[in-house]
């Protein structure tokens, strides 16, 4: 966990690799000279066109809202179960079988079942995504809960530190690296599943749009949406996840 936080920042290297990718893309598109592989410039133009009509921002916002809802749901439930399993061998024994099963159910199966059982609703969509993510959160948080230092908990006990303070200043700080890892992996997984959920049973969101453009073989629009989506992920990583991580692990520096 520490290596993640302490990896030296090399922004120019990151920029170089991104620039290299764009150059290769452009060269390939130029050589292929085919509507199925548009140039980066053409994709940017399309991106701009979809943005000014308000269409792309709307679908992007809808997708983001679904991501946020499923993410919060999955983290809360997954963390609670993970802590319970990490603390108590009995709970762990009771739920471990179910956990292994849940980890191995394909995302598509959960999505189909949620839609079949709960209808083609927003709640079913968010539930389907959250259910896919919960098991991996549980596994990571359980690892953290098992590693909690009993000696530090004893300090809180002998000094009669209240449960709220014990939770926020003694217990949870030990889980933060694990929670951060779960959040990172969580976002990456949820992005992908949300799009599938939208493709299969929603009439809004990036996934729905991608499905539509797929029907028209509109590769330019598909890449434009992908680019916008990837941009949002990068911004979230830099502006939200990293600062949080730096704050939580500042004492290691």
């Amino acid at each position: 966990m520490a290596t993640l936080a302490n990896a030296p920042e090399q922004p120019w290297l990151r920029g170089m690799s991104l620039a290299g990718f764009v150059v290769v893309w452009h060269a390939a598109a130029w050589l292929a000279n085919d509507a199925l592989l548009p140039t980066p410039v053409a994709v940017l133009e399309t991106l701009w066109r979809h943005t000014v009509t308000g269409e792309l921002p709307f679908h992007l916002a809808v997708t983001l809202a679904r991501v946020a809802a499923s993410f919060v749901l999955a983290m809360l439930i997954g963390t609670a179960i993970g802590i319970a399993m990490g603390r108590s061998q009995r709970v762990d024994g009771a739920l471990d079988g179910v956990l292994v099963l849940a980890l191995n159910i394909p995302a598509l199966v959960t999505i189909i079942l949620c839609y079949v059982w709960f209808g083609l609703t927003e709640a079913a969509a968010v539930t389907a995504v959250a259910v896919n993510k919960i098991p991996t959160v549980v596994v990571t948080v359980r690892e953290g809960a098992r590693a909690v230092d009993r000696q530090l908990m004893q300090v809180a006990e002998v000094y009669r530190v209240g449960w709220r303070r014990t939770l926020t200043r003694v217990y949870l700080p030990q889980l933060y690296p694990y929670l951060m890892a779960a959040a990172r992996g969580g976002l990456a997984l949820i992005w992908k599943i949300v799009l599938v959920v939208e493709l299969l049973g929603r009439s809004s969101g990036v996934g729905f749009q991608l499905g539509t453009y797929f029907n028209f073989f509109d590769i330019q629009s598909i890449l434009a949406y992908t680019l916008a989506f990837a941009g949002v992920v990068l911004v979230l990583e830099w502006l939200v996840l990293r600062p949080i991580e730096r704050r939580l692990t500042g004492w290691r520096a």
Partner: protein, 269 residues
């Protein structure tokens, strides 16, 4: 009434039937500094955990006077929260109703020569400083009872000596009752008003000795050395925890003793 009354009839180790402590019974007067000396494995830490209330899996009873106020505990390792600054580590154990007035804490840190390190994280401090923070944390709660488990072990001699002096100056000013666990008889004689000797497992108290020396005492000085020698002359088995005569032992139990145990068969004079 004594500040602390301990009677542990039996304490078993978590695994198996091995007895860790058997019939440990003593009282400590308010403000008294009592050292608990015994060989490793005698159950000293087990006993301290019982008194601290961390271990309730024993038969017997522990009565702490003024149990409404928290006790101070200094552990073998500093046990500081690495993600909290020095000041926040200490604030953590203060009652929330105490408000945000760090003046008393700052004064305590100054006394322990930690001024200027209030906002440092423990990972940046030396081992000796971390132990001083642990000491500050224990005194910050104004404990009536202070439990210490070999707090200065594995420090070099001059540093340990300095920390002992700091401890004594805080103790004489704030007058908590102290139970101080150590395996080092010289350290016990340097610090304590009274020394309790614990036998090897299953631990029980084999000797209860008052230390008549005036303070300050020099751990390398003649008086401590003379008392040390005198104790060993009177009780040659002491450092292995088996004092001759078994005077302090309330009940004889034969089941756990080896057959060829000379100290038990023929008590030294």
């Amino acid at each position: 009434m004594s500040a602390l009354a301990v009677h542990v009839r039996r304490k078993h180790y978590r695994q198996g039937d091995t007895l860790a402590l058997q019939d440990v019974r003593f009282r400590v007067d308010a403000g008294q500094f009592v050292a608990l000396v015994g060989p490793s494995g005698a159950g000293k830490t087990s006993l301290l955990n019982i008194v601290a209330g961390l271990d309730r899996d024993f038969t017997g009873e522990v009565t702490v006077d003024g149990a409404a106020t928290p006790m101070g505990v200094v552990f073998q390792s500093p046990r500081l929260m690495p993600w909290l600054s020095v000041l926040d580590n200490i604030r953590l154990v203060l009652p929330e109703s105490a408000g945000d007035d760090p003046q008393a804490v700052r004064a305590l840190l100054r006394e322990l020569e930690l001024e200027g390190f209030e906002n440092a994280f423990p990972g940046r401090l030396s081992g000796g400083m971390q132990r001083r923070v642990g000491l500050a944390r224990a005194f910050a709660v104004h404990p009536r009872l202070l439990l210490m488990d070999e707090p200065f072990v594995s420090l070099d001699a001059p540093l340990a000596r300095r920390l002992r002096e700091l401890l004594l100056s805080l103790w004489s000013r704030l007058e908590p009752t102290v139970l101080y666990v150590t395996h080092d008889l010289t350290e016990a004689l340097t610090l304590a008003d009274r020394v309790l000797f614990l036998s090897p497992r299953p631990g029980h108290i084999v000797l209860d000795e008052t230390v008549p020396l005036p303070r300050p005492r020099d751990p390398g000085g003649a008086r401590v050395a003379a008392l040390h020698a005198d104790l060993l002359a009177r009780h040659p088995e002491l450092l292995s925890g088996r004092a001759g005569g078994e005077a302090g032992r309330p009940a004889a139990t034969g089941t756990h003793t080896g057959a060829g145990d000379p100290a038990r068969e023929a008590p030294a004079a």
